[in-house]
């Protein structure tokens, strides 16, 4: 693990589907709704494009929280993508919980293109959760050769 | 008991959802004992939903329901009005807190035309 000189700041990766949530994030910007700069958005075509690998990779590379945003169930641009995402993420989150990783480091939120306010609020509350959880060490420490 | 609590109890006993009702009145349209009743099947559903159960508890309509289940059978929304009537009836009986029919009183009440089934349902209805 690298030595940090600066005080810890959370690093949050947000996967946003192109059609609803990314547009919702844009709307938050257009309405000048503030949320912390710790949130970095990655655009994906649909929430069903988010591979559990991406989420684990983010944690592996030092992310403290990962949030997946998609269209509301029933509103998916591709009709069923978010339904698949919902099952996949439910199972993945349950597994992470089972391994003893803190609840709340991962989240799924449905944000429509009209919900700029909800996007900003979601990010604010998510950052708050991550700050209260502190640095993400558990996933990295899960397999520790020294023990 | 307060009306609200009574409503909750009735809803619990009925184990049916009055909100599913679309107020079509088919239950009352089908009811064979409609004219005898002060409150009709659809009113039981609606009044329980609204929490207005006091008049129902005091009404003779409770005992005029034949439990023929035609309202349950006909209801397009599967609201099962008879369950509400039965639940109000049970609430009333519980409120009374005593049995209304004692076995020793029965021989006096029956004549030779009384069907056995009536005795069974009378016990079901009037005893605890």
């Amino acid at each position: 693990m690298q030595v940090r000189n600066e005080p810890w700041k959370p690093l949050i990766v947000a996967f946003c589907c192109n059609w609803c949530s990314y547009a919702g994030a844009d709307l938050a910007g257009t309405n000048r709704l503030n949320y912390p700069a710790d949130v970095k958005i990655i655009r994906v075509p649909c929430s069903c494009r988010v591979n559990p690998l991406f989420i684990l990779r983010a944690f592996q590379r030092g992310a403290d929280g990962v949030i997946v945003c998609g269209c509301h169930p029933g509103d998916c641009h591709y009709t069923s993508g978010n339904y698949y995402a919902r099952r996949r993420m439910t199972l993945l989150f349950s597994m992470l919980d089972y391994l003893g990783i803190e609840k709340g480091r991962t989240r799924v939120e449905w944000v429509s293109a009209a919900e700029g306010q909800k996007f900003a609020e979601t990010m604010n509350s998510f950052v708050e959760t991550i700050v209260s959880l502190g640095e993400n060490k558990r996933l990295e420490d899960l397999r520790c050769k020294t023990e | 008991m307060e009306q609200q609590n009574m409503r909750e109890e009735i809803l619990f006993t009925a184990n049916a959802d009055p909100k599913k009702c679309m107020k079509c009145g088919k239950c009352s349209g089908a009811c064979p004992n409609y004219d005898k009743m002060e409150y009709h099947p659809h009113q039981f559903v609606s009044m329980v939903q609204e929490g207005n159960v006091e008049p129902l508890l005091e009404s003779e309509s409770l005992y005029l329901c034949l439990t023929c289940m035609v309202c349950v059978e006909r209801c397009p929304r599967n609201v099962q009005p008879a369950r509400f009537i039965e639940a109000v009836r049970l609430a009333k009986i519980r409120q009374q807190g005593e049995n209304r029919l004692k076995p020793q009183d029965v021989p006096e009440l029956i004549d030779e035309d009384t069907p056995q089934q009536l005795l069974v349902s009378a016990f079901r209805k009037y005893t605890k």
Binding site: L11, V13, N18, Y22, A23, A25, D26, A28, G29, T30, R32, L33, N34, Y35, A37, K40, I41, I42, R43, V44, P45, C46, C48, R49, N51, P52, L53, F54, R57, A58, R61, G62, A63, H77, Y78, T79, G81, Y84, R88 | K20, M22, K23, C24, G25, K26, C27, S28, G29, A30, C31, Y34, D35, H40, H42, V70, R74, C75, P76, R77, N78
Partner: protein, 664 residues
């Protein structure tokens, strides 16, 4: 190694106000692979685009990163600019530093830092970008309309008028559908035949329309622009091109006991028949279930009387195969069966009829010649009870009816009530309703006229039971507003039976890989914005098969549907979205999981021969994506355990590189 140019936009003060654009440009300029970086006031302006174009040429850029507003805003602008300078448009990535940075973060240092990180992520992605060329496929300029009701006819006519050939496949012997059976149409009360039959004739005579009546779709292959459809032409036992429709055979046929479908079994027809006088095509059809010649080999009267020798008892079903660019589903509806509603005595008394049967009883060409007579004793009914919502709006778990509102019943019941009162003022008409739903132009006014002008008794309540007794129908119902139970001795009871999608729709949807809801209505691509398209590209929807609707709505939807079809057929080639899935055949297991999740049916499987490490060959099943059908959602990529399935433009390693760049 890519040669990447970074272009940082100020967006006036929109970005430059809270992001140090110079610092962003300088820092990103030092990233590996970046050979040029610049900042500019308005990158989307003409001079900004020129800067991009010139730099691409001057520095021989192989990729570009634009740090600017949302890609939803100007991605296309910058891609076009890149293409104009000879760079593949898909080598351009946008870092959104306006909506996601400058507009939400007030702190200059934090904003600048985030802008740099987002820029790095975009650079990391461009390093893995590959030029993409959108696939093209030709378009067969011919449309297939499945269903020859008013929806199908209108769609076909509109497409044909635009100059494209159209085939209408209709399963019954004539086109016209349910509308042909109607008497009058609300709210204007013009006669259905008067407005429909000219359209049927127009379809028959239109040079671009071919009517394949008495036919069914047997198989559908292909994809948008390139469907191949196998159509079963059922044996009529009459040569369609020879028969003149003179009708002599239908008069001479000795078998008079076949139920007349057009009159819903209220009258009988012969074994050889023409459904109704205005049928299109006006050709006789032999009903093999009733024809003595076909059943026993003894008769042959029709063949003897036919002047043009059109009868052919040896005819067999034939299959034709045709190519189409677009397919329209217009399979329509049917009323639900009422066998589960014993309380209304539908199966006990002939005087309890459905609304569609009532239409026939009112119709001048119907079984009673237009005089309203009740079926049991052919006497004039004096009291008629209409019951609405029979089977509509039922509980979702109900096995009797359907959960939705059938939408048309309120209006046609008002129509029936009104017409009955107008023709026979001595008739008492009761309508039992739960709610009267009349949204639509001049609809509520129409209903009010029934109540106010024609004195129809509208009673809020529902009929509980109907008992036939001594030639009367004893109707017991509730009147909720007066809080009483009504007992009416009626002569007829008319049931507004719920409508449901035609039974042929479900197998058709399977053939088309079009999706359906739990009620067997076709689902639209988007419930608000793409209401006449199926999620399956190239498949369009018109009329009741998509949901309950009346004639004006059906016709509007049909024309909208035709517009979409014309738009598709007008193209010579379909240019696809190049950001589609593709499968690496060397890694594919052929396990079908990707096809299971694909909402578009874009994935098929082929057996391919592979060389094995031991130099033998083995045949393996591998997935193949049809780029013309794939919409690029990526559901398959995550389902694929081996990672054989990947998405152009959003590949596994591209997204992973973005994650890495952000989390560095």
């Amino acid at each position: 190694m890519q040669r990447i140019g970074v272009f940082v936009c100020w967006c006036g003060s929109n970005i430059a106000g809270t992001v140090d654009v110079k610092k962003v440009a300088q820092t990103l300029g030092r990233e590996p692979g970046v050979v040029f970086s610049a900042d500019y006031q308005y990158m989307c302006s003409q001079s900004g685009q020129d800067l991009i174009k010139d730099s691409i040429k001057q520095y021989k850029l192989t990729g570009a990163v634009i740090c600017s507003c949302s890609p939803r805003m100007h991605e296309n602008t910058f891609r076009k600019a890149a293409a104009a300078a000879g760079l593949n448009p898909y080598m351009v990535e946008i870092a959104n530093i306006r909506e996601q940075v400058s507009w939400i973060h007030k702190d200059m240092a934090a904003g600048t830092e985030k802008a740099i990180i987002l820029g790095r992520a975009a650079i990391a992605k461009v390093h893995l970008n590959a030029p993409l060329i959108a696939g093209e496929s030709p378009v067969t300029k011919r449309a297939l309309v499945i269903g020859g009701g008013i929806a199908g006819i209108q769609t076909a006519l509109d497409i044909a008028d635009a100059g494209f050939p159209v085939d209408i496949v209709e399963k019954s012997p004539t086109i016209g559908g349910k509308m042909a059976q109607l008497d009058k149409t609300f709210p204007t009360l013009d006669c259905a035949a008067c407005i429909l039959t000219p359209k049927m004739v127009e379809a028959a005579q239109h040079e671009n329309v071919r009517i394949l009546a008495y036919s069914e779709v047997a198989e559908v292959k292909g994809f948008v622009g390139n469907f191949t459809v196998k159509i079963r032409r059922k044996a009529r036992y009459v040569k369609e091109d020879v028969c003149t429709g003179c009708g002599l055979c239908t008069e001479k046929c000795p078998q008079k006991k076949a139920p007349d479908e057009f009159n819903l079994g209220l009258s009988n027809r012969r074994a050889i028949y023409i459904p109704f006088a205005q049928a299109v095509p006006k050709v006789a059809t032999i009903d093999p279930d009733y024809c003595m010649m076909l059943k026993t080999g003894k008769c042959g009267v029709c063949s003897k009387v036919c002047g043009v020798k059109a009868i052919d008892y040896t005819q067999k079903d034939e299959f034709i195969e045709e190519n189409y660019g677009a397919i329209v589903a217009a399979t329509g509806f049917e009323p639900i069966g009422l066998d589960k509603f014993d309380e209304f005595a539908y199966s006990l008394s002939p005087d309890v009829v459905t609304s569609l049967e009532y239409e026939r009883l009112m119709n001048a060409a119907g079984p009673t010649g237009g005089t309203l007579l009740r079926p049991s004793d052919l006497k004039h009914p004096h009291t008629i009870v209409f019951v609405q919502c029979v089977g509509s709006r039922c509980d979702e778990k109900s096995e009797k009816g359907v959960p939705y509102c059938s939408k048309v019943c309120c209006m046609y019941t008002a129509k029936h009530a009104m017409l009955t009162r107008e023709k026979y003022p001595d008739t008492e008409v009761y309508v039992f309703y739960i709610d009267v739903r009349t949204p639509g132009k001049n609809f509520d006014e129409f209903y009010r006229r029934a109540v106010e002008q024609y004195d129809v008794h509208y009673i809020k309540g529902m009929v509980g039971k109907v008992v036939p007794e001594n030639g009367k129908l004893k109707v017991q119902a509730s009147d909720l507003l007066e809080n009483r139970q009504l007992h009416i001795d009626a002569d007829m009871v008319v049931l507004a039976a719920a409508i449901e999608p035609d039974k042929s729709a479900r197998p058709l949807a399977t053939m088309l890989t079009a999706s359906m809801d739990t009620n067997d209505f076709f689902t639209e691509a988007h419930p608000k914005l793409r209401p006449v398209e199926s999620p399956t590209a190239g498949v369009f929807l018109a009329g009741m098969c998509q949901g309950p609707k009346d004639i004006p709505e059906t016709v509007s939807q049909a024309s909208a549907c035709a517009a979409k079809v014309i738009g598709l057929l007008n193209k010579d080639r379909l240019v696809g979205n190049p950001c589609v899935a593709h499968s690496d055949e060397l890694m594919c297991n052929g396990c079908s999981q990707c096809a299971n999740v694909c909402p578009y049916g874009a994935i098929t499987y082929a057996d391919k021969e592979f060389r094995m490490p031991d130099r033998t060959t083995a045949v393996r099943r591998v997935a193949q994506v049809n780029p013309a059908v794939c919409q690029g959602c990526g559901a398959c990529t995550v389902t694929c355990p081996s990672g054989a399935m990947d998405l152009f433009g959003f590949s596994n390693n591209q997204i992973m590189a973005e994650v890495d760049a952000i989390c560095k």
